[in-house]
Symmetry: C2
């Protein structure tokens, strides 16, 4: 009997009927002869509701207490899921993250899994139980409860699959798989049968929020195949894996986009060593993630420095950067919050000329102005005006013929 | 610096304002130089809400999963309380029952505390933290989360006070102390300055639901004084203790009553060994608590057996007793759910004649028919019609002159 690890997100367990629906799916996998371990997120909006409750009491709650508070959401859903399985006549047991043996560091609100001791899970499987694990949480060596940050239940599932040597980690969600582009924007968008870890990582960090990128990273480290599929309908999903055929593919696999982009430009920056550190260290200390960074070629030892942050962080970032800019003798700080990014993603693109040119030509033909460009080995990203994003995604999908399964090259 | 353990019930922490109010009270005790450990119950109706949620999924949930589910209620309130203290500028830390080192047996939903390892609590106190402990919960040796049953937070508080060698355990609630009778019924009811453990136990099990009886028992075992006082107003409460003067008191201390009484009578029972076991063993197995049991003197080897259960258990108890009654050749099973009990309580009553006679005479003068009588060393209880309870409590309070502080003898 193989061990199968499944994960169900918050929208899949939002109420009693949906919990019963998921319980039936878990039971199906069990009836097929698998040893099933299912990870669940908190019910629907529970996490946001708990955050709201905390903010009524303290505008800036301590992360340690916040994590202990938020961990209750997944405990509630895991116990209800076990109860639903009992009601259907199956043996099941609910385990909190600590009970499941998930050890983390003590970075509250974004803890990293240090290891899993699956003794208890194996004991319960051996007793014939379906094991339901509360996602998103673990415990430090000091017995403090931690959470893994948003999307943490995906990470829990992949880490459990790796430590239990499962054949596959199945992530069930409210979409049917990974698409060549957002189907709400591109009608012809096609569901991919499979995708490589690196490609999926670029898709995830470029705006395709299907699986959390930490889960994909972990999948890659342990070479654990991840199935992404719908928890509502029975259609084949997308398998994220690291097959050998990946390397040779050399084609665009998908278009990702993200509307959560704000840009800060510091103009008239003296071009001398230490300037970048002076600007980015205080941002890092304030916990602000900087995405793209571009520095224009210097003339007369004066340069312009541009970088992007998420929109939520813009005002905080500006309040940090402005005094620094003054101190280092820069000219001014400009910001623009109405931006988006669009990316083409595919293994081997960098080694094959023509992708970037085709992308820029396509955007030009639509009359879309490119503000910033960044590239990785398998991704080219353009930052453009927010109101042009849909148009750009559609045009690029068509230009690379992604509606055809053998296309994209 | 003395360690003070405080406990706040669910109605004292029902919303953000009330949580802040309790946080101020905890902070006051801390500012007086005490090392404060505060135990909190779940917010308002949380426990009932979680039970409702579970019943939507499974009419008969597994106790293990139910306990894990219910334990989240007190974790939420303990974290919010710590956050409220942080917002007021105090150092505080929230601990779940397991983190606080509370070990229990594995009788889910009514677990008994086996021991407390207060290492973590002491470490946090030494760091200058106010420690907030989630009440009502603990952990088995297998790391399963348990709950202590209704009123369990009182038990948590007294057990913590004992293990930390606190000077006193303060239980703050929505009443101002222990009264000579329910003040909603008897206008002249007087708040007692102090009361003995045994007397309080009889009060608690006879319907005065101020402190849970298990907490009082534990207080007696460890000789831990328990203060019962209001969490809303600053008036002196009642101290439950075991002073030497208790023994010699010889007077009625209070009148307790309980409306949750149902009676089952099995008539025409053959009076032979094993009959009582045949009836009460299946009830015990079904988890039904039987309160009073009375068997009338036997004539012709035929007897009537009467016992009381709580009203909730009546229909289940009848369905168990009826077939047994038939099997053992009894005549019939009768039930009455419209009963109540009224008790007079005081140390040393049994050694002093006249209390029982005065009680029966008082009820007779009110035209109240007594259906059953039971006594303990320090209590006399009469079971009477539900609609006569108020009248009986008022008349007995007056007859024993409980409105006068030196009276009752």
């Amino acid at each position: 009997m193989a061990i199968v690890v499944q994960k169900y997100g918050g929208s899949s367990v939002a109420n009693a009927d949906k919990i019963r629906n998921v319980a039936r799916r878990i039971a199906e996998a069990h009836k097929k002869g698998n040893k099933v371990v299912a990870v669940v997120s908190a019910l629907g909006d529970t996490t946001d509701d708990l955050i709201g409750l905390a903010k009524q009491i303290n505008a800036n709650p301590e992360p340690r207490e916040m994590d202990l508070l938020l961990s209750t959401g997944e405990i509630v859903s895991s116990t209800l899921m076990a109860m639903a399985l009992h009601a259907m006549g199956f043996k099941a047991v609910a385990l909190s993250g600590p009970q499941a043996g998930i050890s983390t560091d003590s970075s509250f609100s974004r803890a990293r899994i240090l290891g899993i001791e699956p003794k208890r899970i194996i004991k319960e499987i051996d007793k014939g139980n379906i094991v339901i694990v509360a996602g998103f949480q673990g415990m430090t060596a000091e017995m403090d409860v931690t959470t893994l940050g948003r999307g943490g239940s995906d990470t829990t599932a992949v880490a459990l699959a790796a430590s239990l040597k499962a054949g596959i980690c199945e992530i069930y969600t409210d979409v049917e798989g990974v698409y060549t582009a957002d189907p709400r924007i591109v009608e012809e968008a096609r569901k991919l049968e499979d995708i490589g870890y690196e490609e999926m990582l670029e898709m995830a960090t470029s705006g395709a929020k299907v699986v959390h990128h930490r889960a994909v990273e972990l999948g890659e480290v342990y070479n654990m195949p991840i199935l992404v599929a719908s928890s509502f309908v029975d259609t084949p999903g997308t398998i994220i894996h690291g097959g050998k055929n990946m390397e040779a593919r050399n084609k665009v696999r998908g278009i990702a986009h993200d509307l959560d982009v704000a840009k800060i430009t510091v103009t008239g920056v003296p071009d001398r060593p230490g300037i970048a550190a002076a600007i980015f260290q205080p941002l890092a200390k304030a916990g602000i993630s900087v995405d793209t960074i571009v520095q224009n070629a210097s003339a007369n030892n004066i340069t312009d420095l541009t970088f992007t942050v998420s929109r939520n962080d813009l005002s905080k970032a500006m309040s940090i950067v402005k005094p620094v800019a003054k101190e280092i003798g820069a000219k001014e700080c400009l910001s623009d919050s109405k931006l988006g990014k669009v990316s083409i993603i595919g293994t081997g693109m960098q080694n094959t000329p023509g992708y970037a040119a085709k992308m820029f030509q396509t955007l030009f033909e639509q009359g879309i102005n490119i503000q910033l460009i960044t590239t990785s080995e398998i991704r080219i990203t353009c930052i453009i005006s927010e109101d042009k994003i849909k148009e750009a995604v559609k045009a690029l999908h068509k230009a690379f013929a992604l509606e055809q399964s053998k296309a994209g090259s």
